[in-house]
Subunit: 339 residues, 2 copies
DNA sequence: CTGAAAGCGCTTACAG
DNA sequence: CTGAAAGCGCTTACAG
């Protein structure tokens, strides 16, 4: 068993105090006016002994752990695992490590994760907030814990957040369907007050209005997170199983809704895009394999991850006190399902 | 800003030493023979003040951080994000938090993650090892760091590992193709010496031999991790673009290979399963949407995650010194692509 | 230019 | 049954 090398081992070997070693190894040689010769010597010995600082001890003393907490709805959802990957990459570039947790869109799990992460003294949090968790975020703000929201937020803008322009993305998606001649466009979204869904619905409505199509609230179906597969199936039955289908096109507001819907539509006799136009949201390996390759709204995940970490860094380093609302572009990838 | 409640705040309020409080809150009231009354009082005050222990301080003192490090090849690969999710769940059940990193199958990244995690004093590691990382694992063993390998291992069994019976799973997959009348079965796997691929190839060969089919090494193509998409396309050209196709069925050894292959096959005129039988490995949202729903080998991810964490717990708690090689079942999910 | 010392917030032998 | 005290491995004002 190789014994762990400590600061004092280096100090002993060089014949100085641990303070000197600490200063040098933390790049504060100048601040502490340590001699060049000495600094060089210390660095050399540290390297020779392969010194690895105990980050726990450093964290306890300095109050900074160089750790970020990331709370997503479900790390096994490809959208979030992609996001996590890019956040991990960017955090690493800044010398930070990421702890990840899945909230399952549940308030209590979200709170439990926040508590765990705070007890671990994370320097900041990146959170895809759960519906109704505004209090949890407020509490973090009161404690002056740096927080950046991703993917969604609450309606007011008094928060740090990074996300796409959901309204515009949806607007363009629905506009595309309208341009391609579809008249009765339905939408399936999650039933939540969170900003991303609200804005996706708003963009849908805006596109219709701008084309002079009256918004029919019955064509907007909201499914519940806990029973979304069944709810999606039910919505499709509602839309399509009448004698005369209520819609000739659908805008599906997330990847999970889209996958469920595509599975169901696969089993129906209705043909995409001839009888049913489709635009989905987010990416999925499945989209290209649907018999009519799917048109979808693609979020720039690398940018979202990068911006979120960079914004958090700025807050942690106290370079900003402003609330920042950072919007990242989204593009429509046109397949065949949109006509 | 709500001030953080410390052990000594409780001690002061109750009028005892921090030692007592620590014992009681850590469930060691009996060991330390603390009075029942006192214990109750301490717990009550802790709850009232909403005491949250500083896990960093505890970690420094106790040497145990209740943190696990997880190193996967790529957290954005659905296989690993699923695995991560189940590991996260099971770790949480044991009161542990998980730090995740992606090695990209690269030795240097793997080493860097190991270093980072050790500097953060993780209590143990779960690793999907990179090719050639045997030294890294050996070094961890020498330092007596608890380690459990997942998904793959090295050929010798002197390690703790949790994975499926890759040989048998592949054997059954190829056997199915043979039973369905395919004669010339090719295989695409990764070019690696790691156990999982070796065993998948071994199972493939065994199935052929048992049916009296001679193994033709030319029908086993090995693709490189860094250029696998192109390599898979090239392999398919090799297999199928001759005047007379070299194979009438394919066994695809991972989800990423399968997705790439399915995309390419989608663009060819050859029909699945009539002219080309297929069995893939792992799950993907895409499998069900391929025009001929895919037959695949399904790994029991929840079990793998659970077993890996439980084995690691046993090692951390020193309940075992034996090397354990834990094999989890895998099943074939029969679709239409296998004939 | 360098060192002695306090302290981060806990845990845990030890003494009584 | 309970408390005083040492110590985990660092960082950082402070003194010289």
């Amino acid at each position: 068993m190789t014994k762990k090398v400590l600061l004092k081992d280096i100090a002993k070997e060089v014949g100085v105090s641990t303070a000197l070693v600490s200063y040098v190894l933390n790049g504060k040689a100048k601040e502490a006016r340590v001699g060049d010769e000495m600094a060089k010597k210390i660095k050399k010995v540290a390297k020779k002994l392969n010194y690895q600082p105990n980050l726990i001890a450093r964290g306890l003393k300095s109050g900074r752990t160089k750790t970020l907490g990331l709370i997503v709805a479900d790390i096994s959802n490809p959208f979030f695992s992609m996001l996590a990957r890019f956040i991990e990459n960017e955090a690493d570039r800044h010398g930070y490590t990421v702890i990840i947790g899945s909230s399952d869109e549940k308030l209590d799990k979200s709170q439990k994760l926040i508590d765990t992460f705070l007890n671990r003294q994370v320097d900041g949090l990146i959170i895809a907030p759960v519906e109704g968790s505004r209090n949890q975020i407020n509490a973090l703000n009161r404690m002056h814990i740096p927080v950046v929201l991703v993917d969604r937020s609450f309606s007011d803008k008094d928060l740090n957040a990074v996300m796409i322009d959901n309204r515009n993305a949806s607007f363009k998606a629905v506009q595309l369907l309208l341009e391609n001649g579809y008249k009765k466009i339905g939408m399936i979204s999650y039933d939540t007050s969170l900003s991303h869904m609200q804005n996706r619905v708003a963009g849908y409505k805006e596109a219709l209005r701008e084309s002079g199509v009256e918004v029919n609230e019955k064509l907007i179906r909201k499914v519940s997170y806990d029973s979304f597969t069944n709810d999606v199936f039910g919505s499709l039955d509602y839309f399509l199983k009448a004698k005369k289908p209520l819609v000739d096109a659908l805008f599906l507001a997330t990847n999970s809704i889209s996958i469920a819907a595509l599975k169901y539509i696969n089993g129906l006799s209705i043909k995409v895009p001839e009888k049913l136009g489709l635009v989905c949201f987010d990416e999925s390996e499945a989209y290209d394999f649907f018999y009519s390759p799917v048109t979808y709204v693609k979020q720039e995940m690398p940018l979202i991850g990068e911006k979120a970490v960079n914004l958090l860094m700025k807050i942690i380093e106290q370079k900003t006190n402003n609330r920042e609302w950072c919007v990242v572009p989204a593009n429509i990838i046109v397949g065949e399902s949109s006509g």
